[in-house]
Structure formats: C-alpha cells, structure tokens
C-alpha cells in the first residue's frame, strides 16, 4: 500500500514518503550506511586502535624502542617457540619479551608499537600534502579550463610518466647527500636538522608529496569539469555568484566524496612506499623503528628467527588491509546511486 500523495505537495516528498521534520543531509545518510558496512567498521576500528597506540606508544610499549639488552639478543617467549617449532634446537627462552627480542636485544613488540607512529604519520601527512597540492592544482585547471587546463595537464602527464618510486629514491639520495655536511645557519642546515629531528621522515614526506599529488590533481580536475557543467552551478552564476563562491560553495563540496575515497585507498600505497624505502635502507634513520626497516632486519635472519620478520610484516599487512576496507566502505557509502539503501 502506498500512501496517497496530497496534491498540494506540502507533506510528501520523493516517492510519496512523508518529509521528515529534521533535514537529513547526504553526510548523515552516508555515515549511517558506512556504519552498516561490517568490513568498513572493522577497518575503521583497527585504524582507531592504531591511532591510539601510536599516540600513547609510551604507555603501551613495555620498553623504550632503542633500549638494547645484548644478553637477551634473539630471545623468544614460549608461545612464539610453539608457533615456530623449527627454532626449538637453538632458541633461548625469555618470558620478558612478548614477541621476542631482536638481534641487539631490543623488544620487538615495543618497536612495532613505536613503528606505528611512523606508518600512521605517513598515512596522514601523505594525503594531506597530496590533497593540498593536488586539489588546488586540479581545481584551477578544471575550473578555468581552456589553454591553461591543457598546459597544466600536459605538465602532469610528463611528471606522471616518470616512475614515482624511482623519483623518490633519487630525491632522497639527493637530499641526503646535499644535507649531509652543511654549514650551520644555512637553509640546508635547518632542513637537515628538521629531518634529523623527525627521524628522517621529513624528506620522505617531501618525496611522497612531490609525486602523489599528480593522481589527485587529475581526479580533482575531472570531477570539477563534470560538476562545473551542472545546472546548479549555472544557476549560481545566474544569481550573480562570483568565482570564489561557486568554487567553494558549489563545486568543492560536491567533489569531496570521490577525493576522500581515492585518498583513503591511496594510503596503503604511502605506507608501503615508506616501508619499502626503509626496507632498502634509505628511509627513516636508525634507531627510529619503522616496520619497513624491521622487516629488513628480520629478513636477514628469517630462516633462524622468523618471528623477527613475520610480526612487523603482519602489522604492516593488517594496517594496509584496514585502510583498504575503510576505503571500500567509504566508496559505497558516498556513492550517490546507493543513497537511502541499506
């Protein structure tokens, strides 16, 4: 039975449904649908736990990440030994380390906890940089169009053609050599100090930032181009709205959805880039723990002490999965075609 639609159309809306007294925004609807998506909720919860772990790493981790206890090197607890029985003949036991200790006797668990800081910082700074540059670039290109758009997009095409990982490696090599022995008080010196203070992360951010914005710029441009031709933008122009108002009130709020989804799905890429750089030894400076450098260290002894490579790799994998699940969920939740569904 459908409800009768009153002809004065004052009480009923789309599909003859009564119009609620409180306005339901698209955002609220999206959040509700996101909350119904189990994979996204699991992913989101894992990310939340990771964020809390990273923020309160000092409280969570039983040891400081750089503390070496050489007598305890490569020691494992009983349950890890049961998990990897091949270690039985030679492994030394110690109940003090939850996941075991590494080759200089540092607690693996504490290092993984502190390693979350590096990965999550990359997971949030990476999108921030690529959004700031990419959205600005892409919206200017898409909104003004014409020859400017043509020129700006050809520049992106050229940059895009260059393998980004190779580009980051070259950049990092260049930075590290340039900023190795600078005179105090110069710009290079300050940058070098900043980089050292962040444990080598600054240059990784610059490297990721300089390559990751291209995808965002293309996506933003495409979205802006399609929204720009919508009738409500034309309506705003008829009303006498200026460019700034059209851009910030009408176009950008309508392109945010796809951008958020793309950025969330790109985060695992940033995390793995950092892990890869640390793995090949040009990432964070030791002793700053990064999952990539821990996997690299563990890989040296993967036959004798597999726990040292497996646990950081597991942390990395779970984190990347979590971001992927959340991104997938966001994509479904923000899809306007699924609006109002379960």
């Amino acid at each position: 039975m459908t409800k009768p639609v009153s002809l004065d159309s004052k009480e009923f809306g789309a599909g003859g449904k009564p119009i609620s007294q409180k306005g339901e925004s698209l955002l609220k609807d999206s959040i509700r649908r996101l909350a119904r998506n189990r994979a996204a909720v699991v992913g989101g919860s894992i990310i939340l736990i990771l964020i809390l772990t990273a923020l309160f790493a000092n409280l969570v981790a039983p040891y400081p990440f750089a503390d070496q206890t050489l007598v305890d090197q490569n020691k494992v607890p009983q349950w890890v030994l049961n998990l990897f029985p091949t270690m039985q003949p030679y492994a030394k036991l110690s109940p003090n380390y939850f996941l075991g200790a590494d080759y200089v006797g540092r607690d693996l668990f504490s290092r993984i906890v502190f390693g979350a800081r590096v990965s999550l910082t990359v997971a949030f700074i990476g999108p921030l940089i690529s959004l700031i540059i990419g959205v600005t670039y892409g919206s200017i290109s898409g909104y003004f169009g014409g020859n400017l758009d043509n020129l700006m997009m050809r520049i992106v095409d050229v940059l895009y053609a260059f393998p980004s990982l190779l580009f980051i490696i070259l950049l990092l090599a260049f930075f590290r050599s340039t900023f190795a022995q600078p005179e105090p008080g110069t710009f290079t010196y300050t940058m070098g100090q900043l980089d050292a203070a962040t444990g080598g992360l600054l240059f990784i951010f610059i490297g990721i930032g300089l390559t990751a914005w291209e995808t965002m710029a293309r996506l933003t441009r495409g979205q802006v181009l399609s929204i720009r031709e919508k009738e409500f933008v034309e309506a705003a122009r008829t009303l006498g709205a200026k460019n700034g108002r059209i851009m910030f009130r009408h176009i950008l709020p309508n392109v945010v959805g796809p951008l958020v989804v793309a950025e969330t799905l790109a985060i695992p890429g940033y995390i793995s880039t950092e892990a890869f750089l640390s793995f090949i030894g040009i990432g964070v400076n030791p002793p700053t723990p990064s999952w990539g450098s821990m996997i690299s260290d563990g890989a040296q002894v993967i036959r004798t002490y597999p726990n040292q490579a497996v646990f950081p790799a597991l942390a990395l994998a779970i984190t990347m999965f979590a971001f992927n699940f959340l991104g997938d969920g966001l994509r479904d939740a923000l899809d306007p075609r699924l609006r109002g569904t379960q």
Partner: protein
C-alpha cells in the same frame, strides 16, 4: 491585447552564438564551429510571455542562456531596458543579473545536493547582500509558501523532494530577487504530465501577481499555446516565424511551422481522423555545416532555387506576424 502597446523590456538584435570546435593535443586549432544561434532578433514586451519552440538541438536553450550572458554571444546585442548586456561585464553585469533569472529544465541537476532548501533559496539574497540572516529566513519562508510548499521545509535537503517540488524550489529561488524577466528553459519537460499542469499554473499565477515577463522555452506545442502570448518557432539556430499564439496556431505561414503544428494530436477523434500530417523528409542538417540560403530548404516540401541562393529576410507579412520565407 496587452502585448501590442506595452513597453519593450528586452530587445534581442541579430544574436549569434557559435561554439568553436577544437582539435589538437598541445596546440589547439579551431577547425569549425557549431552554429547554435545564427542571427536571432525579437522583442519581449513587459508582462508578456514569449514562447520559443523548436525541435531538440535547434538552439532554443542556447538563445536563452546567451540572453542571460551565461554564454557570451559571438556577435549581436541584447538590450534590457536599453542597457546593452553584451557590452557590460564584471560588477555591472552582476548587478543587472538581479533583474533576470532563470528556471532550469532538470529539477534534479539544478539544486545543489549539499545545500538545504533555505540556503538554496536564500543564496541570491546573500550574494547581493540584500538581507541579514533573520530577514533571509523570513523571506525564504514567505517564498516557500508562495510557490506552494511548506515553510517548515527550510532545513530540508533537495533529495528529499519529488521532481515537481524541486521545480517549485527552483521557481522560489528565481523569484527571490524580485526579477522582471524569467527565462524558463523547458521548466516542465522533465516532469510528469500531472505535475506539469500544476507548475504551469503556478508560473501563470506568479506572472499575474508580480507582473513577470517570461521567455518560455519548450518543445511541447500545446503547453506553449496555453501559456504564451506570442510564439517564436526556431529551426537550426534561426527564427522561422514569430506571431501571436492564436495567429500561429490558426494560420501558420512558414512551411516548417505548418509541418510542426500538423504533428500535434487533436483531442477529438472525429477531427483527429481528418488530421493530415506533413511528414518532413530527412534529418536536421548538422549545425556545424548548415545549408546555404534558407536553413530549412533541405527538408522544405515547397523549396525552389532561390531558397539555396539567398537567406530569406525575416519580415513582417501581416501586422505583428513575422516570417522568414521567400515564398510567403
């Protein structure tokens, strides 16, 4: 008739709009142009409704948008109360926009889905800094009532409304600045037939109440007949015939108008039986490369040699009845 002596509100003179076609990856060359509107002239009197009809792609909407300077014309002039809109820009044009508004075809695409109804209708007031927050809300609530919606819908979002309700929101937005001229760009063609009548009646009521002037673009001939005082028939970027609605529907002079009107079904089975349709042969030629002389000659049942050689003048055959045809 009110149209004959009333003052002229809008004067369109020889309006031309070409859209360039570009080729090339880095260096773009203009290789041609879509002749969307090609020399259109007409007047709209204060308080009247001028219907603009024609088939899809004939340049009706482009004409409307070019008049409002959403597209800048390639050449020609648009005089609004003797101000040439084509020669002003920036702040001057922004101020002039308060007097001219538009109602759009697609009620789903013409409302920003991220804004509430109150923000959408109140936006023109905010843009032109005409009212503070409280005054804006009062005015929006008044406008909602005026177009037959509940004032409590202020905080609702557009996706909660049906097509007809959204179109009413669009009408309310267009009215917010108290404009004189409203360009209605097929405001009813996206709506159900039962809702069409409601919206058209609303537009008529508002016209009476606020002495509005409409340029009513449509392809539904019976609807245009109902709402218009005068009707212009457009084909491939050119106006073929322009006259009072009774004159056009009873005595169409241009062969294109005759063919177009013969396609309207008559709601009387006996008369409908006798209706003779003039079936036009072929397709509409490409506006990129329109035919020489008369635009309609390739499909005209009575075309002769002169039609290919020279463009027929848009002349006044009878008082108030303009036709562009060599043979009339």
């Amino acid at each position: 008739m009110k149209t004959e002596n009333a003052e002229i509100l809008l004067r369109v003179e020889n309006l031309v709009k070409y859209f360039p076609i570009k080729r090339g990856i880095i260096i773009q060359k203009t290789v041609g142009a879509v002749h969307a509107v090609d020399g259109v002239s007409f007047n709209i009197h204060k308080g009247e409704t001028l219907g603009l009809v024609g088939e899809s792609g004939c340049g009706k909407s482009t004409t409307g948008r070019t008049i409002l300077q959403l597209y800048r014309p390639t050449s020609g002039h648009v005089f609004y109360n003797d101000v040439d809109l084509t020669s002003i820009k920036g702040e001057d044009l922004r101020v002039m926009r308060r007097k001219m508004q538009m109602i759009f075809q697609d009620p789903y695409a013409s409302l920003n889905p991220r804004m509430t109804v109150g923000e959408i209708i109140g936006e023109p007031l905010v843009i032109h800094k005409l009212a503070d927050r409280k005054q804006t809300q009062e005015r929006v609530e008044h406008l909602l009532e005026l177009v037959g919606l509940n004032a409590k819908f202020y905080n609702r979002f557009p996706h909660e409304f049906s097509g007809g309700q959204r179109q009413r929101i669009g009408v309310a937005r267009a009215l917010a600045l108290n404009p004189d001229l409203i360009v209605c760009d097929e405001p009813i063609s996206a709506l159900d037939v039962s809702i069409q009548a409601q919206v058209v009646n609303l537009l008529e009521d508002l016209q009476k109440e606020f002495n509005l002037t409409y340029l009513f673009i449509a392809h539904d001939l019976s609807m245009v007949r109902h709402i218009s005082d005068r009707v212009a028939v457009m084909y491939l970027g050119v106006i073929m015939e322009l006259t009072g609605r009774t004159e056009l529907y009873n005595n169409p002079l241009h062969p294109y108008s005759q063919a177009l009107l013969s396609a309207v079904p008559i709601p009387d089975p006996v008369v409908e039986e006798k209706r003779r349709r003039t079936i036009l042969k072929g397709d509409v030629p490409s506006p990129v490369n329109p035919p020489s002389g008369c635009r309609f000659r390739t499909r005209c049942p009575i075309a002769v040699d002169i039609c290919a050689q020279s463009k027929p003048e848009f002349r006044e055959i009878n008082p108030g009845h303009f036709v562009a045809c060599h043979l009339v």
